[in-house]
Amino acid sequence: MSVSAERPWGSHSLLLSLPAVIIKLNGLTKAQIHSLQGNYQRFFCEPSPITDEYCIECNVYQLDREPCISHKEVSWKGQYAPRQVRLGNGIELTGINFQAKIISPCSHKFSSISVVNEQDIAKTSVIENFLRILTAHQALSLKGLVLHSAGLVYDDLAFIFSGRSNAGKTTLTRKAYQHGARVLSDDINVLLPEGEGYRAYAVPFTGEFGRTLEHQGGQESYPVAGIILLEQGDGIRTEKVKNSDAVAALLAGCPFVNTVAEESASLFEAVINLVAHHSVIRLVSGRDDRIDEIMAAVKKELQAV
């Protein structure tokens, strides 16, 4: 890592309460906090004995120059993805315009993130990527998952539509939102175990749909009603999915950790546990299909499983 000296930008701190992690960003300027408010204000929280005990400290540093890294090294299947390198006791992340470390010397974790320009920290390509990756690893340590999916809430139950890019997650999200559903995210959702099942949590991570941010923050969560593997096609069709196919599809939909050897055992365990506790079905639908008809078919199939 080419941080010549660990120079903080300022002297201010900010606590963010995300579903799988409370993170305390240290060394910020007031201007940086102001910029971070735009996307993350609902996830800001006040210090308390609980946050003091459980939060991950993250020092924000100045970086002398942009990381020397090729675009090929920060792309995965055609999409931007910061490079992850496993260290002895943590992970080093390198993006086009930031470097970061997540270190676990014992049970407690520390992290740092370094950027060249003051306002870079608030860019989604920096802070959001960092938080997504941190959340993915933290969720696994809690036996949960970060899943590439659209999370839609009907009647206080979360329907998780998992699908690859261009499977129709954002289109479905738009239709559902217009139809009155609450949107957790159209891109990334956090599922954490609780009791006999899993709950889906609101996250500040979003795709093309953007942030509605009508949700309350990182502690808002809903019981998972079912997992729906989303595919595009003609007409509305639903079918039950074999457990092995469900595990395979969901593994493929767990970004940031599904190609990390050290996380493989935990990831398998979490996905197999999720499939054991929740019904997984396949939904084939077209761009023009009505959301009320889609949801009726989904609910009917989930009840039948």
Binding site: W76, K77, K242, N243, S244, D245, V247, A248, A249, L251, A252, N258, T259, V260, A261, S264, A265, F268, I272, V275
Partner: protein, 105 residues
């Protein structure tokens, strides 16, 4: 077939039989019910294999030769050695295409 080419074929078979086959270090798998799910850490591909495939993958977790693998399948599934030879070859070719296995002598 000439005696020379027949001998070459025998030599090739002997060589192939001595080859050790194993899962690459980039593959992780789990049994899910009677089937198996494999993840290739390098390319992110996830594949599902049937009951026989899972048995093979479990055997391939440690280096094993083709004859050893064939004997294990014959014992496990109570099928004829001839049938196993043909199916095993096809299966190994498929796993090789998926970059799941590697060979060494």
């Amino acid at each position: 077939m000439s005696p020379v080419s027949h001998n070459r074929k025998k030599d090739m078979e002997t060589l192939l039989d001595a080859e050790q086959i194993r899962l690459t270090s980039q593959v992780r798998f789990r049994a899910v019910g009677e089937e198996g799910v494999l993840v290739h850490l390098e390319n992110g591909r996830v594949i599902v294999v049937n009951e026989v495939g899972l048995f093979l993958v479990q055997q391939l977790a440690s280096p094993v030769t083709r004859p050893e693998l064939a004997r294990a399948v014959t014992r496990e599934f109570a099928v004829s050695a001839d049938r196993v030879q043909a199916d095993l070859q096809l299966y190994l070719e498929e796993l090789d295409r998926e970059q799941v296995i590697e060979y060494s002598t």
